[in-house]
Amino acid sequence: MSAATMSIDAHIAVPERGVDCRISIPGAGLIALLGPNGSGKSTVLAALAGTLTPARGHARLDQSVLFDVGDPGAGTIDAAARRITLVTQKDDLFPSLTVLDNVAFGIRARGVSRADARAAAHQHLAAGDLEDLADRRPATLSGGQARRVAIIRALAAEPRALLLDEPFAGIDVEAAIAVRGLVRQAGRTITTVIATHDAADAWGLADHVVVLDSGSVADAGTTQAVLSQPVSRFAAAMAGRVLLRGTAAATGLTLDDGTVVAAELCGLSPGDAALVAISPRHVQVTEAVNGDVTDVVARIEHHGDAMRVWGHLLAADVDPEQGVDLRVGDPISFALAPRPELYSPTR
């Protein structure tokens, strides 16, 4: 983790958007706010950036107060003075300015002369391999190009933190790869927060994940902890896993109804409260007598070249050819390989 990253401590309450959440993140490079549409991700980013003033709460970036509704002395710091830049999913670029002047905008705002700001903007564009676009108007850019320019503009303003709302959504695959590179680079130098609905965006990129459910925090911690050992059903669903809750036993996890799911104990003692988060990729559908868990087909989803078979307890990703005969209501058996690892609800 780089030295320039800052801690975030916030309580953001915006009742008209159903948001009331407390976020506390130690100095982390790249933070992912993970949640479905309407979970309050954009509202949290707007409150941190200062484009929206919450009804209640406070926020601090390291020691500096961004807003504190309860403290008239601290009050609300203007967005312009926070030095936190925001890139949204909308068209962020100013249509009347060229790409170069868009990138120079934040530099100019710091009091740099027009010529110097343009020279610096050229360098930023060149570093992002976008110098060819310098004289273009935003209306002539593709969605991916516009997103990259907006991120470069946000970085050129030399912020203390960079906030990105769904940076990979709505652009083509090539552009998403370029944006991912930009975001990764940003996270190495400053505190960077991305809001996303897709856990895949957090894996390999984020150091820290905060899961938002209907405006409040469902889980938070290191990416590894939250995505592979989630403690709430909701966080597990966001991470693409099925959460089982029970008691550690000699050979695995005993569920409330007495079913035993084979699992590694991983340091827990029999009798301890335990969780296991099982990825459907690690579950196979087998002959009814051979499996670890017997179940009944409850739902079948098709995802590209895979088919997800949901039982009442578990789910398995199977080859569509193998699952072609399965119907809702069929008895099935799930086999777990590799064996899932138990963990404590307190992680």
Partner: protein, 252 residues
């Protein structure tokens, strides 16, 4: 529908075509270069340009203010400010007399300071500004109002203060609408007749603008009147073509 649409176009196009047909094209240079015509055109151009400048300098800020103002009095103020759009110009002229005439609300005080506005070129400019200002206010306010403040928000996160955001983000975004408002204001000022006649009179070289000259010549020298009318008609068509181009462009 089509016959009605044709009838509508006819109501407007036929009188225009009739004017074009009546224009003595051969004598046009001679008629337009007569001293009276030149004087009226010169005065009209000067006063309309000045009135347009006033409309932009005062009307645009008023439009921005009305768009930002959220009080319930906003509607009342806007209704008053936009009244000249629908007010008969002669009523506007009377109102200006009651305000700035020698016996008027402010006129007496101005007069005591040696400033007499009524029946001067200043009065012409004031009358034109009075009737043309609402076009500028309306164009500005509706342009600002129809914008989402998204770009202004983003600009503030980039560290820009209010005045930089206003000049670098908001003004360029509403510039096409401001241009439209400006062109419409100019056209309205150029065509002003009733308020000018009532508040400024018809003194050759001082207050007798193009429309007043046309009205005066219409009985004594019909050819001169129609020649000048042709000038205003041409200006009107050019103005409309200019004014609605940016609107169409920004709507796309």
């Amino acid at each position: 529908m089509i016959p009605l649409a044709l009838a509508a176009a006819g109501v407007i196009a036929i009188p225009i075509l009739a004017t074009v047909a009546r224009t003595p094209w051969g004598q046009l240079p001679e008629l337009l270069s007569s001293p009276a015509a030149m004087q009226a055109m010169g005065l009209s151009l000067r006063t309309a340009v000045l009135a347009t400048v006033l409309c932009v300098v005062l009307g645009a800020p008023l439009g921005f203010a009305l768009a930002a103002w959220t009080s319930r009095w906003q509607r009342v103020v806007r209704a008053v400010v936009l009244a000249p759009l629908v007010l008969p110009p002669v009523v506007g002229g009377l109102a200006l007399l009651y305000a700035f005439g020698r016996q008027g609300l402010l006129g007496g005080w101005l007069s005591s300071m040696g400033i007499d506005i009524a029946f001067s070129t200043t009065a012409v400019v004031l009358a034109q500004t009075f009737v043309a200002m609402p076009f500028m206010v309306l164009a500005t306010e509706s342009a600002v109002r129809s914008r989402s403040p998204h770009h202004e928000s983003i600009a503030s996160t980039l560290g820009a203060g209010r005045s930089r955001i206003f000049w670098a983000v908001t003004v360029p975004a509403v510039a096409p609408a401001l241009a439209t408002g400006m062109v419409l204001s100019f056209a309205r000022a150029l065509g002003e007749f009733g308020a000018t006649l009532t508040f400024a009179g018809s003194m050759e070289g001082v207050t007798r603008t193009l429309p007043l000259e046309i009205y005066l010549q219409r009985e004594s020298d019909a050819a001169a009147a129609v020649a000048l009318a042709m000038v205003l008609l041409a200006v009107a068509i050019v103005v409309v073509a200019l004014a609605y181009r940016p609107l169409m462009r920004s709507a796309r």
